[in-house]
């Protein structure tokens, strides 16, 4: 496993894997959307608006998952200084930010007809907004520090501080009285959703996960290339400097 994390091997392996992953993501998302629209029934209370759940919940799960990916990569950067760890961190940021944005927007569009408001300063909603702001801050920090390995160390520290927010998001509905409903899939007593809605939801979550993984691998490949470009540009500048001297 450790040898696969060698950048040269990673580029070769991910190049072969990427088209298949992209194809699988498209296939599973198409299947998930068909199930969500044509198999899952309307909810007895929420009616057709329950179909927003098939986007909102997978986006929320994966927004948290990609933050965890960043946190694990941050440990890899700080503890082992592994060359691919900070590449993985950087590639995960826009994906996590986009998924958090999807979660917030679809949540607002679901909240308006169900709660009568697009937004309330509820613990779950506010902690998700904090997650989005964390992603934006991390994205900004990557762009602020020019040297990638220095940026990675600073970002790692910020990322690990932000991990505190993950249990707050997960348990906010249990710790405080919130308008947001409590956990109905990932809970100790098992899911409380009827299988006719649960299975389409799980297929959509798998589709989102495959798409996220595809984009993450693609982002990592781009970042490896970008650092190769940087190395070559520095070598060229050094050569021109020597010639001028």
């Amino acid at each position: 496993m450790w040898s696969l994390a060698n950048p040269t091997r990673f580029m070769a392996l991910s190049g072969r894997l990427l088209p298949w992953l992209g194809f699988a993501a498209a296939l599973v998302l198409a299947a998930g959307l068909s199930l969500a629209w044509f198999l899952a029934p309307a909810d007895y209370q929420q009616g057709e608006t329950v179909r927003i759940m098939f986007l909102h919940v997978p986006a929320a799960w994966l927004a948290l998952f990609f933050y965890l990916v960043m946190a694990v990569s941050a440990v890899g950067t700080l503890a082992w200084r592994h060359p691919l760890a900070d590449v993985s961190q950087k590639a995960a940021v826009p994906i996590g930010a986009a998924l958090t944005l999807i979660c917030l927007v679809t949540g607002a569009l679901w909240g308006r007809p169900m709660w009568g408001a697009y937004w309330v300063w509820d613990a779950r909603l506010t902690s998700m907004l904090v997650l989005f702001l964390m992603y934006c801050g991390i994205l900004a920090l990557w762009r602020t520090i020019e040297e990638p390995s220095r940026a990675a160390r600073a970002v790692s520290i910020l990322t690990l501080i932000g991990v505190v927010n993950l249990p707050v998001i997960k348990f906010s509905v249990d710790w405080w009285n919130t308008l947001h409903q409590p956990a109905s899939v990932l809970r100790l007593g098992g899911p409380t959703i009827h299988p006719s809605m649960l299975y389409p939801l799980l297929v959509m979550a798998l589709g989102f996960a495959l798409l996220g993984l595809t984009l993450h691998l693609a982002g990592m490949r781009t970042e490896v290339l970008s650092r190769r470009v940087r190395t070559l540009a520095i070598l060229e500048a050094e050569r021109l400097d020597r010639q001028a001297a």
Binding site: I52, L55, E147, I234
Partner: protein, 71 residues
């Protein structure tokens, strides 16, 4: 399919998600192409690495030089 009185909210959710994901994919493709093009240009100018090992690119580099478009 009749989406009932809240059709706007359902359609807007799916449209926004599609738009955000499309933008994410589009940006990923553009970034990758830009780096491939930049690498090809440098290699065409005869710039080569001291080592052909890709991990050499990920080691810390001097920060004094700014390389436009390299992230």
């Amino acid at each position: 399919m009749d989406l009932g009185p809240h059709a706007f909210f359902i359609v807007a959710s799916y449209a926004t998600t599609a738009l955000i994901l499309a933008a994410l994919i589009f940006k990923a493709v553009l970034d990758h192409r830009a780096q491939v093009r930049a690498l090809a240009e440098l290699e065409a100018r005869g710039v080569t690495r001291r080592s052909q090992d890709a991990s050499a690119d990920l080691r810390p580099q001097p920060s004094a030089l700014h390389v436009p478009g390299s992230g």
